[in-house]
């Protein structure tokens, strides 16, 4: 009898939230979903403003090479297409990525496996700092410092590599070319790709590297057979992040590339453009109809970069999960 009293009764466990908590959770959830709402609104509003353009031109808005408002009073005379600009975005970004990825691999490997520890700490901080340099400063530097150098170099490059179509320049006008914009974008993208690559490389399994040394392998042998295969998917994700940044860059490209509505594969020649710099250039004196076209161009750019970024974060997240 006494013992029965001593055995405590089971407490009743409450698993529902109190009123305060329910309000708290509701408020935080609303706030948390805000970013989803903004993304949706961006797409919806640009589509709403640019819908007229899509219904007028259909698919030829994306493929067309001509940008001509025609008679400002009569919108039916306008012929608008962003094909050349879209192609320009792709060309400059591809140049940027082709240059940036090998450089980023080298810098990441140098920081993680070649530099002494103190230098490594300094360099990781420098990397963050360089990633934060505003694009307008890259632009003004590219215009003042890089432009003369690339202009000088384009002449011999064209002479030596003339037989490859993309390097020949029949017009003989160099200077503000897709190549210059691509090199500048590469410099802007390198810190982003490098910091992703460095993070992945630093997590390469130490025991496998040591095992590789124990078998008599060299440092490069360990890097080639352990570190680089281990970091491959992370690197692809980082490169995609960089690609997204390069596709959407405005000011640096605006300052270093002549806007010409013509698909220009001759990367040393002074003609090109990208969608973002098209918007920045035409925005100031745009007619109402042209403004709608710019909104539509913005929507295309938004969707393209969103797609690239989705893929990038998918790949990066997956490679993090494996680690």
């Amino acid at each position: 009898m006494i013992q029965d009293d001593l055995v405590p009764q089971h407490r009743k466990l409450v698993s529902s939230y109190t009123l305060v908590d329910r309000i708290f959770r509701r408020v935080i959830t609303t706030g948390g979903l805000f970013s989803l709402v903004i993304l949706g609104l961006i797409g919806a509003f640009l589509l709403y403003r640019g819908f007229e353009i899509f219904s007028d031109f259909g698919f030829s808005f994306i493929t067309g090479e001509v940008w001509n408002i025609g008679d400002p009073m009569d919108t039916s005379t306008a012929v608008l297409g962003i094909g050349a600009m879209l192609m320009g975005s792709v060309i400059t970004s591809v140049i940027a990525i082709v240059i940036a990825v090998p450089c980023a691999i080298a810098v990441a490997l140098f920081i993680e496996y070649y530099s002494p520890k103190r230098l490594r700490l300094i360099l990781t901080a420098v990397l963050d700092l360089v990633a934060a340099i505003p694009s307008v400063i890259f632009g003004i530097w590219g215009y003042a410092v890089l432009l003369p150098i690339i202009e000088d170099w384009s002449v011999p490059l064209e002479r030596w590599l003339d037989f490859i179509p993309i390097f020949s320049v029949p017009s003989g006008i160099f200077g503000r070319s897709p190549f210059l914009a691509g090199v500048l974008l590469a410099l802007m993208v390198i810190p982003i790709v490098t910091s992703v690559a460095r993070e992945v490389y630093s997590q390469a399994p130490r025991d496998l590297i040591d095992a590789s040394y124990a078998l008599g392998g060299t440092r490069w042998g360990a890097i080639r057979n352990v570190v680089i295969p281990f970091g491959r998917s992370g690197l692809v994700g980082g490169a995609m992040l960089g690609l997204g940044r390069a596709l959407g860059e405005t000011v640096a490209v605006y300052l270093t590339l002549n806007l010409v509505f013509d698909i220009n594969f001759r990367i040393l020649g002074s003609a090109g453009g990208n969608v973002a710099s098209l918007i920045a250039t035409k925005f100031g004196e745009a007619t109402e109809y042209e403004l709608k076209a710019l909104m539509a161009a913005g929507l295309v750019l938004f969707l393209v970069t969103l797609l690239v970024n989705f893929m990038a974060s998918f790949i990066v997240n997956r490679s993090r999960k494996i680690l």
Binding site: L41, A106, I133, P134, I137, F138, R219, G248
Partner: protein, 350 residues
């Protein structure tokens, strides 16, 4: 005892992993040979200039190393060449970074005089002598817009982070995913969105519109950094708070958030550093104004647009002003970053 110890010969420790003097001398010789070659290359061909010299060095060094090390066998040669290639590429990447900072400093410091930070361009044309006018209006404008943007985006960003880490709601993973994707939205698209809504509805450019464009760009940075910081809070703290009978709201506001206050400040600073130099969205939202602004419904100046518009004039003095603005902007961004880094270092030590 002593005699026995004396009798045993204690071997001097060998450290085979330390670099030998020979290695050092060898790399010095290789380096100087490649320096000579790259100097020859840059002076004889058209790829001249300082950059041509360094690029030549980047090509010459691996070649020289290859020729020297080929006698040690294939594996050693590959290893040494790979090291030299990595070193050379590192150099090629770092030189432009150094060039950016030094160029901005050299050209920007010419625009400075005692009144540069305290006068605006109200009575001065951009082409006028550099002893007049300054960047006060641009600095004030940037500060105002950044402040408004922070007031909106910091609470929202932290809320999103709390949702992901503390509430772990049904949409937590998708909020996380979309916040990541949002950080990749091109800044000009953010500007275009604000123009298509705020500017069209309320008629024209304004500081408010610029601040809202900043908000869109700042939100993902703040949310992601706050999320990383929230994850650092040990679960024991939360459990202890619940065990004392606290509600979840109380736990978050009085236990979790105070613990990581420095981290949240860091996330806000990183967000500010991210947007302070954005140019493209302001072209479409805040535009430019030459005087120090008092009215937030009017167009307002900002450092990036100050640089951009002065550069567009082509006049020598205006260009120098643009470099001066760049120097101010670069200093602002670097200081913000150093502060954020210092704070986060203090947090991680805790």
């Amino acid at each position: 005892m002593t005699t026995i110890l004396d009798a045993v010969e204690v071997p001097t420790p060998k450290r085979p992993w330390n670099k030998k003097r020979q290695t050092f001398i060898r790399s010095a010789i290789l380096m100087s040979i490649s320096l000579v070659f790259s100097w020859l290359l840059s002076s004889t061909t058209e790829l001249g200039g300082v950059l041509g010299f360094y690029l030549g060095l980047a090509v010459c060094l691996p070649v020289v190393v290859l020729i020297e090390s080929i006698r040690h066998g294939r594996n050693v040669a590959i290893d040494r060449v790979a090291s030299s290639v990595i070193l050379a590429m590192f150099g090629v990447v770092v030189i432009p970074w150094i060039s950016i900072v030094t160029t901005v400093y050299q050209k920007g410091s010419k625009a400075f005089y005692w009144g540069y930070l305290t006068t605006d361009m109200r009575f001065t044309a951009s082409g006028e002598s550099l002893e007049f006018g300054g960047a006060l209006h641009a600095i004030v404008g940037t500060l105002v817009m950044v402040l408004i943007a922070s007031l909106i985006s910091v609470p929202l960003g932290i809320t999103a982070a709390i949702y992901i880490v503390e509430i772990k709601g049904r949409f937590a993973s998708s909020v996380r995913f979309f916040t990541q994707a949002m950080s990749g939205v091109p800044s000009i698209v953010a500007g275009l969105f604000i123009y298509s809504t705020i500017c069209i509805f309320f008629g024209g450019f304004s500081a408010w519109a610029g601040a809202l464009a900043y908000t869109i760009l700042m939100l993902p940075t703040v949310a992601r950094t706050s999320e990383e910081v929230l994850k650092l809070v040990p679960d024991e703290l939360r459990a202890a708070s619940y065990a004392l009978g606290a509600s979840q709201a109380r736990t978050v506001f009085q236990v979790v958030l105070p613990t990581i206050a420095t981290g949240l400040v860091t996330s806000a600073i990183l967000g500010i550093a991210r947007v302070a130099g954005e140019t493209a969205p302001l072209l479409l939202t805040a535009s430019y104004f030459v005087a120090t602004s008092r009215n937030l419904n009017e167009p307002i100046a900002s450092l990036p647009i100050y640089i951009f518009s002065n550069l567009g004039l082509g006049d020598a003095n205006a260009t120098t002003r643009a470099w001066g603005g760049s120097l101010v902007l670069l200093i602002v961004v670097f200081v913000l970053f150093s502060v954020a880094r210092g704070l986060s270092a203090r947090l991680s030590r805790k």
